[in-house]
């Protein structure tokens, strides 16, 4: 059995209240990065050979999985690409957001004392009982209180859903794609996370809906004080919303720069290539220059820079050594032998 290096020496630093976009083509490891950060990478089969993921001075890779749960969802939340597969089809929207809020409150009350007991879900919640039980099995003995109902409605209106009191009674299939994604965002935000990992949140949506969702994420970032890690394949989307852009290729970060610099002065040949691939005019006005070749097979990579086989500026050294990510200009890092290294 061979090994596939999905991520190879990836260094990433997310500051508070920042929106970082990770851009790359399919198979470049951007989703693996997202899943490792939130601790959802199935291990095995995946193996983390080396490295740390530090969140507020805690190494998320070395703490036990039970402990990790306290962070996952509550401190670091995630939005997935396809909202229909991430929502449970047999429970209403209200139940699903309610579950998230109940778990958050439970964790908060337990956090000071000790780890959560494994049967914490089964304990009956006594205060403020109304006749309406939650339909989520693990929370069946709990009640959806009036206050909880209000909070659910509050989050639904936060993500600009019209008639939230009716929407919470609906099932995911009754909502449009844009509304489903907004429900996912509401659920993530109800946790008031310090970091929101959004893996291609608008790829399955139409352009007008995409614009609505991106605008909403950007506004909520300010309201709730969240940092966002936006995983996307669309450079245009990144240019519109990100503060910093990280370009990945075949498991490596090849360029890391603030957004204005990256688009006005891209350094890495791959970034340049990606930018010249986007058609921005009619066929008479613009010439697109596709990058020749295709992404290398991660199972048997040749030594050296992974972009060497497609690079127009390839040199002898590129085929022997792996370039390191170095800061060539303030706030602009690139991994390429063309720039010192």
């Amino acid at each position: 059995m061979g090994k596939l290096r999905a991520l190879d020496h990836v260094n990433l630093n997310i500051e508070e209240k920042q929106l970082i976009a990770v851009v790359g083509e399919s198979g470049c490891g951007k989703s693996t990065l997202a899943l490792s950060i939130i601790g959802l990478l199935a291990r095995p089969p995946a193996v983390v050979e080396s490295g740390v993921i530090e969140y507020k001075d805690v190494d998320l890779l070395s703490i036990p999985s039970k402990k990790l749960r306290q962070y996952r969802g509550t401190e670091i939340a995630m939005i997935f690409q396809e909202p229909l597969t991430s929502l449970n089809p047999v429970f209403t929207i209200g139940d699903q957001i309610g579950e998230a809020i109940m778990i958050r409150d439970l964790r908060k009350s337990k956090q000071q004392s000790d780890d959560l007991p494994s049967d914490f879900m089964q304990k009956t919640y006594k205060s403020n009982v109304t006749p309406k039980p939650s339909r989520i099995p693990s929370l069946r003995r709990r009640r959806i209180t009036e206050a909880l109902q209000k909070e659910i409605i509050q989050y639904l209106s936060l993500v600009r859903i019209a008639d939230p009191d009716q929407v919470l009674e609906r099932y995911p299939f009754e909502l449009s794609g844009g509304m489903r994604q907004r429900v996912m965002i509401a659920m993530a935000l109800s946790q008031k996370p310090a970091l929101l990992v959004a893996d291609e949140p608008t790829t399955a949506l139409d352009v007008t809906t995409q614009a609505q969702v991106l605008k909403l994420m950007k506004e909520l970032m300010k309201e709730v004080n969240t940092s966002i890690l936006l995983i996307t394949h669309d450079l245009a989307v990144a240019s519109q919303v990100a503060d910093r852009v990280v370009v990945m290729y075949a498991g490596n970060v090849v360029e890391d720069s603030n957004v204005l610099e990256l688009f006005s002065d891209p350094l890495h040949p791959y970034t340049k290539g990606l930018l010249s691939c986007i058609p921005t005019g009619t066929k008479d006005e613009t010439v697109i220059r596709p990058i020749a070749g295709s992404v290398p097979d991660l199972r048997n990579l040749p030594p050296g820079c992974k972009f060497a086989s497609r690079c127009p500026y390839v040199m002898e050294v590129c085929k022997q050594k792996d370039p390191e990510l170095v800061e060539t200009k303030p706030d602009h890092k690139v991994a390429c032998f063309l720039y010192g290294n």
């Binding site: 083509e25 449009s176 295709s294």
Partner: protein, 335 residues
Amino acid sequence: MGIETFESEDSILVTRDLKKYYPIRREFNPFSRNPRRFVRAVDGVSLSIRKGKTVAVVGESGCGKTTLARTITLMTPPTSGDIIFEGINLTKEKVRPKKLYRDVQMVFQDPDSSLDPRIKIKETVAEPIRSLVGGTENQVREYVRTSLSAVGLSEEQGDRLPKQLSGGQRQRVAIARAIGPRPKLIVLDEPTSALDASVQAQILALLLDLQRKYNLSYMLITHNISVAQYLSDQVAVMYAGNLVEYGDTKTVITKPRHPYTITLISSAPIPNPRIRNLLDIEIKGEVPSSINPPTGCRFNPRCPYAEKICTEINPPLKEIAKGHYVACHFVEKTA
């Protein structure tokens, strides 16, 4: 409705007031007096495609653009209206499908599901040639060879199975299959939306190259404004089964006049962080259901200029400048 003015001498395909309704399953009640309901996927679309040119049909999911493509290729018969291909009215006269499909071919969105996973690439490409063009096995092989090399695939790759190729190469196979019988018109249904940016650029360049080489006409179905802008000569904007704007690509994209087109084009992100207009635009509501579309203009519940007349009368397409048609009661307000 200003239909005739669309057509010109060199039109290869013309549709007139084309409609496609799908019936909704009836409720299980034999005594029900509820009328049958329909999804009005395509509701009165007239457009024309000129020889050697590309018309892009743009719109969001559910606007009926794929149904329009399927209707034009007669994969699904239209409910009413005319489809005229090279002067022959396909809805009135009996046309042998074989003859039609020799001239009209299609490329689908997802090469994973449009290629047979169990037969070799060269067989996939040979199949339409064998059945639509005929000829000896040697001639078929010759056709296959030229088709494969036209899309940049080697003969050795022709012996592989689809799973042994990358996504971009598979889309090349789908294009090779379409150009195999030497058609005059190719309907491209989202040909690049399943592909990565760098591969998309390769396919776009290939499509332009083939168009010039074989004088092909394209009907491009896409939701991607920049792809439409790059590939097409004319753009038709669809909203909820209706055509709302039609004109030369440059005019429609740089000076859109229908309120929906304006919304659509400004929501397409531009790769320039210095022009952050994406976060400035105000978009209300969502695409309406095509079972119960709003009365009057389909866009009126979301339109900033809507007035009473918009809820009553669905505006016809009007020519506001030469070759630029807009279906809006208050088109002067968007100037």
